[in-house]
Amino acid sequence: MTMTFQAVGDSGVMLRFGDYIDDAVHAQVLAMDNAITAAGLPGVRELVPSFTALLVIYNPYETQYQALVQAISGLSVGVSTQSDAKEWIIPTCYEGEFAPDLQDVADQCGLGTDAVINAHANSVFHLYMYGFAPGYGYLGGTPTEIQLPRKQAPVRDIPKGAVMIAGPQCIVTTMVMPSGWWVIGRTAFDVFQPFADNPFPIAVGDSIRFKRLSMDDFTREVQA
């Protein structure tokens, strides 16, 4: 395993495992995330995993950079087997007003709208990291045939529950925010439940599938 350390101000250590988004690299990020959590190193306040890196935030009144680097280097890290990873199904309606960018995506990819929907709904996604806003989970796994760069300019007021894609990524929005990603569906599934005991039910490392719902089924589900 190649891991580099870098100081981030007086209270962070950035651990990097690679330069490109890659499942093996991400498995190393998660394995180290677990190892540091399990070790309960003194002074460690927070761990923030991302695609290729893990940020360790420490309390500079309790520990120091060099001490932490040594402690982390000395940890024995297993390979993340993802044995505790869960699989989630997110029912999604890819129709009408819920899919404002579906036709654009289809046109730019040279596919029919059904082919775009099938490509999305038949893929297995993987939660790499949270970021940007509460509960915004960056999913990887959008198949190559429907990958597009993000829009030239962000669009305001993308609603909560929008299923949107950009490049290899996919996000289910959790609040009204601007975004330059392509909105291809809508779900009533709350990936972010602000006042629940666990507001973030999907864990980094979990896998996700989208299940196609008709407008009628979606409406019934929302009303149920």
């Binding site: 870098q6 100081a7 981030v8 101000g9 007086d10 209270s11 962070g12 950035m14 330069d19 490109y20 988004i21 306040r45 927070e46 761990l47 923030v48 995993p49 991302s50 695609f51 290729t52 890196a53 893990l54 940020l55 935030i57 500079p60 009144y61 120091q64 950079y65 060099q66 990291m129 949270y130 970021g131 940007f132 806003a133 509460p134 509960g135 915004y136 989970g137 960056y138 609040m175 925010m177 602000p194 006042f195 507001p199 973030f200 980094v204």
Partner: protein, 337 residues
């Protein structure tokens, strides 16, 4: 009837406690005070519990009316305070009687001040914190005229009253210490040299998320998009336009723009007090020196806090205390101070 009516609030005033820690990995920024140092001092001024919260007052100022008699404290920056026209010390603890109005206006310096109430303000916490999460509106948004606040009811305490000098360590200082990285490798040597040799000016594009500076362009070597990674408060992020942005209390938790350097913890509080047009000189320090400087500052704040009791009480009480102290004479005949 609520304890406090907000009669006027400048932009960006909000309720904040010490912050919402532990949820960066879920995309939830810490929030909390822009000037944590001043907030810590205020909590001590009001002898508060750990879940203490306060109104963060921006340069735009704040006017409140009390519907019950309250013990309030204010510190941070150098604001002008008055109760129905009578001026108060900028930093201190005072009584606001029922029916009276407190006006807080920008003073000579500083951009953020903290108005606290003995016992704290009532607010429903989210994820263990009453800090407004302003991007989502969860846990309240920016305060506006017409808003009302309740307090965890406590009797006023005249013995806490004090007027404090403004400590020099809390003021904006032109020299801002930074540690290079975590993505300094994406910038040329010439750009890194410019970062330390040139002067940067704070622009008007500053808020709780960050402060945009203008100066020489710090554009990275190429627009290569790096995978998004976690951001820490104090990061000096350089988007495509080349102007550095110091990320502060409400920073996004992750991002793909390169971070050339990181402002050390204690200087994040003071640089946040800068106003548009103020000039900044970045000074490079090692990680070890940064940690030492942050620890030294904490000791300085702690010492300053330990002196607060000497400023408490009415004038008569203070004189009495001075007489008592100077009246203590040791067996060797020397007065102890």
């Amino acid at each position: 009837m609520s304890a406090i009516d907000i009669k006027f609030a400048g932009p960006l005033c909000s309720l904040q406690d010490s912050g919402r820690m532990g949820f960066l990995r879920y995309g939830v920024t810490e929030s909390g005070p822009m000037d944590r140092q001043a907030f810590t001092i205020l909590a001590e001024m009001l002898e508060s519990e750990t879940d203490f919260n306060a109104i963060e007052v921006s340069l735009g100022g704040l006017v409140i009316r009390a519907n019950q008699t309250l013990t309030l404290g204010f510190c941070g920056g150098d604001f002008n305070l008055s109760i129905d026209g009578d001026a108060l010390a900028s930093w201190g603890v005072f009584t606001l009687h029922a029916g009276k109005s407190l006006t807080i206006r920008a003073g000579d310096s500083g951009s953020w001040g903290y108005l606290g109430c003995l016992g704290g303000f009532d607010a429903r916490p989210w994820l263990g914190s009453t800090s407004s999460h302003l991007a989502s509106g969860l846990c309240g948004g920016y305060l506006q005229a017409g808003d009302q606040l309740d307090v965890a009811q406590v009797l006023p305490r005249e013995d806490l009253i004090c007027a404090l000098p403004i400590p020099s360590f809390s003021r904006f200082s032109r020299e801002v210490r930074i540690v290079l990285g975590p993505q300094d490798g994406l910038f040329s040597d010439a750009v890194k040299q410019a970062l330390f040799q040139d002067i940067f000016t704070v622009t008007r594009e500053s808020d709780r998320m960050g402060m945009r500076m203008s100066g020489p362009s710090l554009a990275p070597n190429d627009a290569l998009s790096i995978p998004s990674e976690a951001i820490i408060r104090g990061a000096v992020q350089v988007p495509g336009h080349g102007d550095p942005i110091i990320l502060l209390a409400d920073h996004q938790t992750t991002g793909g723009y390169p971070k050339i350097a990181t402002v050390i913890t204690c200087d994040q509080d003071t640089v946040g007090q800068a106003r548009a047009g103020d000039q900044v000189q970045f000074v490079q320090v090692s990680v070890d020196d940064a940690i030492q400087a942050t620890r030294d500052r904490a000791a300085q704040v702690k010492h300053w806090i330990s002196e607060i009791p000497t400023h408490r009480g009415s004038l008569a009480e203070k004189l009495n205390r001075v007489n008592l102290i100077s009246g203590v004479v040791g067996p060797d005949g020397i007065s102890r101070h």
